[in-house]
Symmetry: none
Subunit: 151 residues, 2 copies
DNA sequence: TTGACTCCCATAGAATTCCATGATATCCCA
DNA sequence: TGGGATATCATGGAATTCTATGGGAGTCAA
């Protein structure tokens, strides 16, 4: 199976269109999709993106419609309501709803970051920042595991 | 399979007509339906909407008609009795019965919220409120699980 | 006849498709 | 292996289609 790997930065034009990186498009195409599903991250600082297969798996996990159940996870409902399926046009572009762009603070350009079975869309500077923190954490963890009980 | 995703706000005109969002119409059409089934939520704060397939699945789970059984869930009877099948007109609109609108407190505009295999119709402000609460819950849950599983 | 509902048409605005261009990457053959 | 020829890609703008929404005419029943 092909994976979403690496990162790409593309422009958002004044009509709100963005090219989906060709690599990512071909991964989606391989799964048989001509569209992407987007939804905000829980933290709200970026946008998650995946194929419809991920959403279907999610729906399966929370179970089908049941009007008498309070069980059905309300988080999942939120997710379904906040998710959008965006068709990829003939030129490989999508139109990201303004609401999602605003939430993620994306303005003129956005960064596509592969995550294996999905990818994320970030404001470039925010991604940079997050990357730095993640590396820091990783380094700290590694240092700790070397000299046990240190710091 | 196509899912009901995302949310849309449409107006209810003075004749009581509302456009069903085009996306939702195409999901229904894909299933072969030219109509929607509506019934109130158990909490009574919104309207459930789905294709006939969901109702059929529901009936199956409840158990079909049996004249010698008193067992049949009365909730289910209520559900079937309160449900209405609304045809979608040539312009993609439906006429929601006044009773359902009143129950959900819907007045001039209504919000269609995707739930995967079904969708709901809300008074916009009420949906906003519910969304806020659900997100809060989700964030809290996530914070908890991070703390437990983290370094 | 009145009221409720169905069709049909009109329209403004939004979304989608189509076409053009420069830039980059890939391929192919000497 | 080099370098020109050929695809691919991201991007901008214009043209076209679609969508939501309002209003009016015809239908049917009470």
């Amino acid at each position: 199976m092909a994976l979403f790997l690496s990162k790409f930065e593309n422009k958002v034009d004044k009509k709100g269109r963005v090219s989906v990186p060709a690599r990512f498009r071909s991964v989606l195409a391989e799964k048989g999709y001509g569209s992407v599903v987007l939804f905000p991250t829980v933290e709200g600082d970026a946008i998650n993106a995946c194929g419809m297969d991920v959403m279907e798996g999610l729906l399966e996990r929370i179970g089908g419609f049941d009007p008498f159940s309070e069980e059905r996870d309300s988080d999942a409902d939120v997710l379904m309501a906040e998710a959008v399926e965006l068709p990829i046009d003939g030129d490989g572009r999508i139109m990201i709803p303004q609401e999602l762009l605003d939430q993620a603070g994306i303005d003129g350009a956005c960064l596509f970051a592969g995550r294996g079975d999905s990818f994320q869309i970030w404001r470039p500077e925010a991604f940079e920042e997050r990357m730095k923190q993640a590396k820091e954490r990783a380094r700290a963890k590694r240092a700790r595991s070397v000299k046990v009980g240190a710091e």
